[in-house]
Amino acid sequence: MKAFTLVLIVITGLVSTNLQANQAIEQLQGSYRNNGATSFEALDGKALWYSEQNDRSCTSCHGTSPIAVGKHRKTGKKIMPMALSVNPERLAKAAKIEKWFLRNCKWTLGRECSPQEKGNILKWLKQL
């Protein structure tokens, strides 16, 4: 009985975080559409993830695959996976997603990401 309860608790936790993440992504994609984005393409998101400029890329710190744990290239700190399927907690809050997009797009690309680019990335991370 105890084990059953524990399993139920874990599953409930995962399901509710997953739901939050899906809601946060939908909410953001809605606002991106209101700001000029059209339909989102996962493949474009993937291409942006792997694109490199001035020796900088998303993979510099997140690692090659969003399903795996990355390592910050300077501090060495572990960076948890970004894919929704393995780590919904990462995408559970819209404000947090936006904060990191701002910081990391500026560092990696030297500019902010467009609403279209952000929506594409989210779509890719969601379906991985």
Partner: protein, 191 residues
Amino acid sequence: MKGLLKLLRWSTGITLLGCALFIGFYGLSASSIASGYKESHEEGEQRRNRFGFASETNPAYQEECGGCHLAYPPGLLPAQSWTVMMSGLDEHFEENAELPEDTRLEILNYLGKHAAQAGDKVLRGSKDEALTRITELPYFVRKHDEIPEQRVKNNPGIGSFSNCDSCHKNAVQGDFDEDRITIPGYGRWDD
């Protein structure tokens, strides 16, 4: 039959809700235990823990700054250093660490309140009041002069002197006790 189904649905709903609440409260209680420092003495209005650093923690500081590196005890730098640091977050040691203005101010306020004061041992010999690299404090340099630089920089388990918690496992609580140092790949440090 319909009644039974209704009852089943209702009880499943209640169970799920109960579980969600339990997880929430469990998380809250676990994190508050983890952040409860032992306090040894009070200094003015500022409460300090037994390591001489602020016992008050700040969730925004832990979340925003601790998200990328050790949330350094605020008492490692003077207030002016923190002001300079928090004014240039878009160029934060070659990283972008921008924050929304309200969060930035909250964290700056916390850091300023618990910053190192004149007379604190970490500021001994320090002339630059706006220095932002903790590792450049004369006190820091002195304390680490017996450690060969290569043992840190070429050590995959450390990489940089700025990763305090690679060796000082309880650094986040301000515990830099010499008796509790373990250098990755080398073992316990004996002074």
